[in-house]
Amino acid sequence: MLKYWCMISIKNLKKRYDDGNFAIRGISADFDKRLTTVIGRNGAGKTTMMRILSTQLLQSSGTVEIDGLDNVKDAKEIRKRIVSIPQEASPIGYLTPMEHLKMYLCARGMSLKDAGIEASKALRELELWHARDTPSDMLSGGMKRKIFVAMALAANADTIFLDEPTTGLDPLSRIEVWSAIKRLRGNIVLTTHYMEEAAELSEAVVMVESGKIIATGTIKSLLSKFKGMARAEITSSSAKAKYTIGNTKIEYIKLKEAESYVKNGYAIKPITLDDLFIMRGVNIES
């Protein structure tokens, strides 16, 4: 029987690389929802955090517990319970989706016969069955990523870590992968730098910047503080605004003020998770 919502508890996690740079500067969080998304820009520390959680990288200090198991002392036991799909992982060109899944499931300790059964189920469920014997070199980007999602599905793991599963994919392929992710069982921790991906998939969001958490909560709770507000945006070098990204000037306004901003050439946009980053000074050049 699968255990849903197993708890991941992180306490004062730090990671300092040999060059002296901190990738993670003291993160504490509990992931207790079925699908938690870690959002952040490139270099924010998302992948480092995922690699520590999935026992691939050792932290410099702090503790991580997955369902009560310590990621350092109990790594072997944790590895039996998790699946980790690395960022930008590519399938091996001449191997087919079926072969990838069988090889992976055998690495997880399944017999070849069971691996074949589980692989077939997962490939059918994710609509990869017709391509099961096609060398992965000949598949589209979206289908290649779906091979990895199928591995996660077939493994029946308690916890699944997906590191930027849709980076580099075209919009249609991303929707295809999202729909595959929604079919995964177990609880999921996913990283992305696409805000709409977090909005589409997750129940809880952890926003990370420069190795620190800058906000956590459900998307609804994070956006609730912007109720009745909108983003006014203009591309101009002369206009003055509280937030500037390149040549784009941004103001956060009350909806009733929108009309006057439109008259001055501003575009009015709804508030999204992007705005949390902007309001916290992230992405702002000056």
Partner: protein
């Protein structure tokens, strides 16, 4: 040790690739065959036996070197190593799976050499058995040294260059294709840093082409143990 994973990996990654990537198989056979041709021409057939024995060793060693480079490619480019870290297999399973997959790709080449060797009447039961053991030793030793070398590589760009350099330095320079007795002692001892040298020396002894160099046996065993230990450590299975 997860034998099921190793077996599946060899089947899919090694044996299936013979059919799907025949150009690699042909290139790995051609390389020692060209040496066989050149050595036979230049030595007027005098070193033909050395070239055949060396061809066997060279094919197995070269594929073991490429298994290390492929491991680096999978770690740095395809990221498949990260995928396997979070499973129940360990670095030794992965290393063996990878190395033995490449041995599988060596099989057509080994077959070609077996036919040539049989045609030349090189093999008896005893020397064939001993030589098989030595080929296993060269596989393990070269795999270990290759995984050690490629464990240091941090950029994909360097992988294939280093693989080329390593295969020339490790399979052509040592006395693989010529009698080890031709080498000055100091140079021979320097070459003995590579297990391929010891295997070549012992093989030449087994086939009566040169005096038996029994002192190479302990050196070979120690090197396999040391290089395997370093190779596994450098695989960055769980990075610090």
């Amino acid at each position: 040790m997860n034998l099921r994973f190793i077996g599946t990996f060899i089947w899919y990654y090694g044996i299936r690739s013979i059919k799907r990537g025949p150009s690699y198989i042909i290139s790995s056979i051609l390389y020692p065959l060209v040496f066989l041709f050149l050595i036979t021409i230049f030595s007027a057939g005098r070193y033909l036996d050395y070239a055949v024995i060396g061809g066997f060793i060279s094919i197995v060693a070269m594929n073991a070197i490429y298994s290390g480079s492929d491991m680096a490619f999978q770690r740095l480019q395809l990221r498949t190593q990260d995928l396997f870290v979070a499973t129940s297999i360990g670095p030794a399973d992965y290393m063996l799976g990878m190395g033995l997959s490449y041995l599988a790709t060596s099989l057509p080449g080994i077959l070609v050499y077996a036919i040539i060797g049989a045609y030349l009447g090189l093999f008896g039961l005893a020397n064939a058995l001993l030589f098989t053991l030595l080929l296993i030793a060269v596989l393990l030793g070269t795999m270990a040294i290759s995984f050690t070398i490629f464990g240091f590589i941090k950029h994909v760009r360097n992988i294939w260059g280093i693989a080329g350099i390593a295969s020339i330095l490790l399979t052509v320079l040592p006395p693989t294709f010529y009698p080890y007795t031709l080498l000055p002692k100091a140079l021979l001892y320097a070459f003995m840093l590579s297990p391929i040298t010891e295997v070549s020396m012992l093989s030449q002894g087994v086939f009566g082409l040169a005096p038996a160099a029994y002192y190479a046996i302990p050196v070979l065993i120690i090197e396999i143990a040391i290089y395997s230990g370093i190779g596994i450590k450098l695989m960055r299975w769980r990075e610090k």
